[in-house]
């Protein structure tokens, strides 16, 4: 006689292997992020008393004169409304879909026209130069704008450290390609990974920074953690996020948005109220955070940074090189 015991576990109650492992990695990842983050930024960061929000304060930075008279866009608006197609095409997607993104450990590789290929960990990157606070206007090509207090260091400091050769005419920024952590990359809306670029003199301009934080805190995932490019006189899409590779090239990099729509987006993408876009008015902009009954404001040439960058483009036809 065969005695069988009926299982008291119904099949639907069994956790699938995939789910089980996902949970493991999630638990591990959350744990690791807290450990590494506090380890990496020792001496620079004090974790806030409010541990639940997991915001990490940055205390050592130099205040600068940039944008001190500007009214800052509310933190909640900056962190809940932006374009970051790696996390979805809606402007509310990044804040939701980037929750499981893991910005550490992180290293950036330097390659191309350099003396020697190099790697730099994010923690060493922090130490290349003293961190500065830069309050910059950010103008999106879609016609809205913000004022954001970034924390970062001039890109020129990184370039000096990278030691490019005389052949380096352009700098190419390549963002992370990982469709596990960046669900938006599962859809080919852009040619992943995201690629941006600058001419060498633009990259060396003192306004151009690599940001690691904002509002006195480490960069939130949805705003480009752990490090992103900020070029305040250009449309926002030039600011590549979650950068993993910086390559010095002799020829103009093929950037993601130029590939996606060459008649709409140019390599330069300088803020210019006189060069119209096929979809959006560029002569005025909506400043986020103003509420329902605040009128638009006039867009300024080079987003108001003509004094600092105007000379970079003398002799260049800006309506052709938009």
């Amino acid at each position: 006689m065969l005695i069988t015991k009926k299982s008291d576990v119904i099949p639907s109650d069994i956790t699938s292997k995939e789910n089980f492992e996902n949970r493991r990695t999630l638990i591990k990842a959350t744990g690791a992020s807290i450990v590494t983050a506090s380890g990496i930024f020792t001496g620079m960061l004090n974790r806030t008393a409010n541990a639940a929000s997991s915001k990490q304060k940055i205390s050592n930075f130099v205040k600068t004169k940039y944008g001190v008279d500007e009214k800052l866009t509310p933190y909640d608006d900056v962190t809940s409304y932006n374009n970051y197609y790696e996390f979805g095409t809606s402007k509310t997607d990044p804040s939701i879909e980037s929750r499981l993104f893991e910005p550490s450990p992180w290293s950036i590789s330097i390659e191309g026209a350099v003396k020697k290929n190099k790697q730099i960990g994010i923690e060493d990157f922090f130490r290349l130069a003293p961190l500065e606070e830069r309050i910059y206007r950010m103008r999106c090509v879609e016609g809205w704008s913000m004022v954001i207090p970034w924390l970062g260091l001039p890109l020129s400091k990184l370039i000096q450290w990278a030691e490019p050769t005389a052949n380096a005419k352009f700098v190419e920024f390549i963002s992370l390609s990982d469709d596990r952590m960046m669900p938006g990359q599962r859809i080919p809306v852009l040619d992943w990974p995201y690629v941006e670029g600058l001419r060498m003199d633009e990259a060396m301009n003192p306004l151009t920074i690599m940001a690691l934080g904002m509002y006195g805190e480490v960069l939130p995932n949805q705003n480009g953690a752990p490090l992103r490019l900020v070029v305040p006189w250009k449309y926002g899409f030039k600011g590549a996020k979650a950068i993993v590779k910086i390559r010095f090239t002799e020829t103009m990099p093929k950037t993601s948005w130029v590939k996606a729509g060459p008649n709409e987006y140019g390599f330069y993408a300088n803020v210019n109220p006189t060069v119209d876009h096929p979809r959006w008015t560029q002569s005025s902009e909506r400043r986020i955070g103003g509420g329902l009954f605040t009128p638009r404001i006039k867009t300024q040439m080079f987003n108001g940074y003509t004094e600092q960058v105007g000379q970079l483009y003398t002799g260049l036809d800006l309506s052709k090189n938009f």
Binding site: Y81, R279, T281, S283, S284, R286, R296
Partner: protein, 205 residues
Amino acid sequence: MIDKFLNLLFKKIKILIFFLCLIPLFRLFYLGLNSQLGANPIEFIERSTGTWALVFLMLSLSMTPLRQLTGSNAYILNRRMLGLFMFFYACLHVLTYLWIDHYFDFDEIFKDVYKHPYVLVGFAAFMLTIPLAITSTRSMMKRLGGRWKILHRAVYLIGLLAVLHFLWLVKKDHTEPLIYVGVFFLLLVLRVIYKYRSYLRTSNL
């Protein structure tokens, strides 16, 4: 029998449908009063009213195919109301654009309309809805007679311009506007099939 029942039902619940159609508006008020319209509330209102105008356009265009599929006239009882709600949300959409988005800066608005194809087709679609709304009353129907039907065929052009407006506005991910293109196309195809079948029937006689 069923036809009579549906007729009665739709007459009874017409007021209910009316209030259902106002939910998108009440929702905007609710979100606005609770500061839940997001970082760019003007864009939110523009998107929301525009989307609902498009939804009501598709709903009003669904009534004729529904009548043909079911053989019941009851659906036509709601067509005018749905069409007028389309006009209502389109008006709110345009008003938001003219007023709180551009503060009646007509210099800027004029440039926006003629320079940007998506604004142009949207504006054209809205202009076309005005005569249809004006002639939607029973007395106007009587006065215009056969011409009323011809005039109201403009709704197909409005539909085409409206889906183009949405399609051209979107920067990259076209999934959402393409759904509306698909629905519009389906509603047109159903009409063509029905016309063809009734043509076959009459030519057989």
